[in-house]
Symmetry: C2
Subunit: 405 residues, 2 copies
């Protein structure tokens, strides 16, 4: 999946790029007991160009507001993340606590509070237990290989941490881009947050960095759907500290190369999130080609990948293409029925709007794989997009209907 000019970093983490350190601890926020990390700090040795993309939910958690404010005011040096409690929907106390987290980390590391970004994920509507957070921040020890601990500490109910790194050559320098993310799987109620953190040692102009992150998120995290519920805390941050020593990138061919690397990291993380969706047994990949606009392609792919009915059919290995077509039709994308073709794992089931009498046994057999692919050709234009989701299983319901206590 990695293009020719990108190289995978074995065992990559957010501290793979030069000049980043991280550390994590178990502060006591996660109810699943000791041994699980739940509080983590990421530090750059030097001030970074910073970029952020945040939830579109009108009810955003306090740390989201704080990140926006701090990115406007300063070049970031550090990120602190807690899992277990979302610091959302608790009134003015939320902002007070988020600010205190930034101040505590700044004091610990000799920074200004506005150089610290804060993220929280966990239960909505309960106050952060600041006593154990204060102690936890003191306990964190930062190391050059602390990235794996960072990835472990940010997860909530993900079944495994999600991290990836790539390297590329820019103007004779080796540049690294790496990321960690947590997914939208939830066991405790209200944990639905998507958090993503991307680090790079490339030198990048801040305005351009924001463009790069936005573009990468559009084709990766924004194309993931687990259950259609957008969290109050969704945050993706990108920090570029320039330790690679390249001339600062503001566009051009180097900008395109960096864009490709950041997009690749985000897409790989996004696919891991989809495949690890709550209760999921399979990755669902929906590609829409031939759309009249990019927006149409994205809407169509996302809507199909998010259909409860289709997701249940994927779980049951049922090549039930009518559900994909019904979802396509309600997606809002421009569709001419007579031009639509549909493939399930390369088997054509609909061609030019007419059903093909396909061999169902073969389709069922291919659907038993770990990844199920739907390809829709609209034959209405040049645009394409891919969305990722997962199947809908009884376990999703069981997990989300179980009362917490």
């Amino acid at each position: 999946m990695v293009p020719m000019d990108l190289f995978s970093i074995p065992n990559g983490s957010v501290t793979s790029p030069a000049g980043f350190r991280a550390g994590a601890t178990f502060a006591g926020l996660k109810t699943r007991g000791e041994g699980k990390l739940d509080l983590t700090i990421l530090l750059s040795e030097t001030p970074c160009a910073g970029a952020g993309v945040f939830t579109q939910n009108r009810i955003a958690a306090a740390p989201v507001h704080l990140c926006r404010e701090h990115l406007r005011r300063a070049r970031p040096r550090a990120v602190v993340v807690n899992s277990g409690s979302a610091n959302a929907c608790i009134g003015d106390q939320g902002m007070t606590d988020a600010r205190e987290m930034a101040r505590l980390v700044a004091d610990k590391l000799g920074l200004q509070p506005e150089e610290v970004l804060v993220c929280s994920t966990g239960i909505i509507g309960v106050e952060l237990p600041m006593g154990i957070i204060r102690a936890g921040i003191q306990a964190v020890r930062l190391t050059e290989d602390g990235g794996h601990g960072f990835a472990q500490a940010i997860v909530t109910t993900d079944t495994h941490p999600k991290e990836v790194g790539v390297s590329l050559n820019l103007a004779g320098r080796t540049v690294r881009v790496a990321g960690a993310a947590k997914g939208a799987g939830m066991i405790h109620p209200n944990m639905a947050t998507l958090l993503g953190f991307v680090t790079t040692d490339a030198a990048v102009e801040a305005d351009f960095l924001q463009t790069v992150l936005k573009e990468a998120v559009e084709t990766s995290f924004n194309m993931v759907t687990v259950d259609g519920d957008t969290s109050t805390n969704d945050t993706v941050l990108l920090l570029a500290n320039g330790a690679a020593g390249n001339p600062p990138i503001g566009g051009g061919p180097d900008g395109e190369a960096l864009q490709a690397a950041v997009t690749e990291v985000c897409v790989q993380l996004a696919k891991m999130i989809a495949a690890d969706g709550e209760g999921a047994t399979k990755l669902l990949e929906v590609r829409v080609e031939g759309a009249a606009s990019l927006a149409d392609a994205r809407k169509a792919a996302r809507t199909i990948a998010g259909s409860n009915l289709l997701k249940a059919a994927v779980y049951g290995n049922d090549p039930n293409w009518g559900r994909a077509i019904a979802a396509l039709g309600r997606s809002g994308a421009r569709v001419v029925e007579k031009r639509v073709s549909l493939y399930i794992n390369d088997i054509c089931v609909l061609d030019g709007g007419k059903p093909i009498p396909f061999f169902k046994g073969a389709a069922i057999a291919t659907m038993q794989q770990a990844t199920v692919r739907f390809l829709v050709r609209l034959n209405a234009g040049p645009h394409a997009a891919t969305a990722w989701g997962c199947d809908l299983t009884e376990r999703y319901v069981a997990i989300n209907s179980a009362y917490t206590t």
Copy 2:
């Protein structure tokens, strides 16, 4: 629930209004075997004012196109409905078969084909078995109490037929309004169609009738969500034959009274559909008050009622209000967090954006009832709306992941 000036018709059906007859047969379309009705005809003794509201899905089934065309061309006399096959996504043959169904019914009853409306519901992407449909249409016998058979024949996987009737006095005449509907529960793949049929013996001007139906559908069927999947076949028809002998209604106080009656019939049917959603054990009622616009109120109520996470929590009797607030925030409705209050079955859990330390045991106990109500007060304006849904259960997944054959 019925307002003071509306009277419930005991055992009401679409043939309760004067001048309507209906009949149904088992043609052999449903795979569940004989004894189940699957083909039905509704006839008015005289031409009707007709109104229709149809799916917004860009891929609409052939009978939807035909209904639109026939409503433009003639005053309807009859409706023919088959269940078992949706006549959707099969190319040009779909329109050919829909037209033949109209012609066969017209020939049988001495009508013009354009006086016949056609609806289908069932599997997408298979051709109608016209041989058994032709025989079935011949076999149908119309009677004055055939309404219950009509309601039975239109269902697919609903666990029971859905019908209701009300009467009211208009200008000294007794006027009846009655309806039947089938829901969005699905056992066979691709059956997701909502069909609604409302009859009245009131005399109504056709243009006004369309306004009445549109308004009623907005506050009833359009506020129901079972799984977010909009069908290719969704259709609601309203026929007014004037047999009550009232002066034709074109607005004014009589128009308002008729509107109330039609809305009441549609709301009752909508609630039955929600409560009978696939695998559902409970009705979920979400009311949003104090919205800045009616559109905001409707968006917010629908989004909350449609949240997979909230629906799973309702199933598990979990007073997990953060999920409702997260859904509210992503609904697109204007929300000021500090003004939002939330009640679960009259228990206040959030007031002015701050969590209330409510007694969870009591909330859990109230959630074990057949109807679970969420009330959101936005305190941002005068508009309100109610949406209906159901809980999300393991059975929904089991039903929809089981392969058909």
